[in-house]
Symmetry: C2
Subunit: 217 residues, 2 copies
DNA sequence: CCAAAATTATGAACATCGTTCAATATTTAG
DNA sequence: CTAAATATTGAACGATGTTCATAATTTTGG
């Protein structure tokens, strides 16, 4: 073997990540191994270490792709609801988040399977991706302001978007991973067919928050 | 070697779980291996498989202990605030959750590092533990009702407690794992000294929710 | 009380994992 | 065209979960 392939560094990197995306999607995170990736792209495991310093960093880059696609998905939802009432826009955005989580469940779960405490300092780009993810929500909240936003209001919006997002995420995560008490037995066997519980919880959360938000103005 | 020890099945089980708790606390989840446990309790790795069918199930039982301690902790907080205003009680309960998560961070993180989708059906006891964890919150919400609770109200309280809990958990989880945009740089280096962001977010969430709750009555 | 059956712990083995690195094959430079 | 630089390999190391025949110990039953 030992034949040098016609792949730029960047091409190889893209190839690896694309194959990683596919492996996680089809076989789950535990099968994301250097050997499986190598097998998929016609390289030996060691080659991957010429492109990524460790499997952990490779997974971080895979998460980066997932975050980027999620951001795009959310932004699309946000733009599609321009002009509609605040409540409707937030519900739609939350539903977009759930849809993404369900469609790409393994990749979405992988986002939370990694401990960032030791790498995040060196990987600023990843923090930027997280930040970007909040933009669509911040935009929606900003649009809902009638008077022009002051600096103080901008900070407040940033905070509120984080609260809302974390709450919706908490409901979505616990619901999807079966870590909430189950009310509907049937829904346990096929989550995709019954997101009633989720919808009720999220809509009530959003309505509550909006009511208070409108009062404050 | 091969000397049979003076340990009941149950004693050995307790010994293993106790040692597992300690290993996770001191060395983190990745060091929770059959070999490390064996070394700690003076047995060979294979012995553990006489008590637990797999490391995955062992970890589930460890999570059971964590859930039980968390429940106790929350119940204590709930009882300590009896008679106080609803808002105060919820803030205190949420703070109790954060305290537990910070004090036993590795064990608490382990709760969410496991995919339950394939085991939960066979392990009803674990679902019961999750259910129990909601009791203190449900009790607080029930106490806040002035008129006696109807059946409909009881269901509503159950739902509301799940919404509130999931939201607080979402904020806590994302905040603790560094998956939220950081506003305060200093807090990143030493979280224990600065939970300002967390406190602001949770208190605003709770206040908002309470305001709506009180209006409904 | 002792031999036979049942139980319990052992240690070696297997496949797989992340990772390293000297050796080899290929490309680039002079 | 030779020599330096680079890319890829394949073998190896230590560690993991798990299995299982073997050996050690306890229990049983006559």
């Amino acid at each position: 073997m030992a034949r040098r392939k016609d792949h730029t560094r960047e091409e190889l990197k893209a190839l690896i990540l694309q194959s990683a995306w596919q492996i996680v999607e089809e076989q789950g995170l535990p099968q994301l191994t250097a050997r499986n990736i190598g097998k998929a792209i016609g390289y030996v495991p060691g080659t991957i270490y010429n492109v990524f310093p460790s499997m952990e960093i490779l997974q971080l880059h895979l998460n980066g792709i997932t975050l980027q696609r999620l951001s795009d998905h959310l932004e699309k939802s946000s733009k599609a609801t321009q002009g509609k009432p605040l409540e409707k826009r937030l519900q739609t955005l939350a539903k977009a988040y759930l849809n993404f989580a369900m469609e790409f469940q393994p990749q979405w779960m992988t986002l939370f399977a990694q401990d960032l405490s030791e790498i995040k300092d060196r990987e600023q780009w990843y923090k930027d991706l997280i930040n970007n993810m909040f933009s669509p929500l911040e935009l929606i909240l900003t649009d809902a302001q009638k008077s022009p936003a002051s600096v103080r209001r901008k900070d407040q919006i940033r905070k509120d978007s984080q609260i809302l997002w974390s709450s919706v995420h908490g409901i979505t995560y616990l619901w999807m991973t079966g870590k909430l008490p189950i009310t509907d037995i049937e829904s346990q066997q096929n989550k995709k067919k019954n997101s009633q519980d989720w919808e009720y919880m999220v809509s009530r959360l959003i309505n509550t928050y909006i009511a208070h938000w409108q009062n404050e103005k």
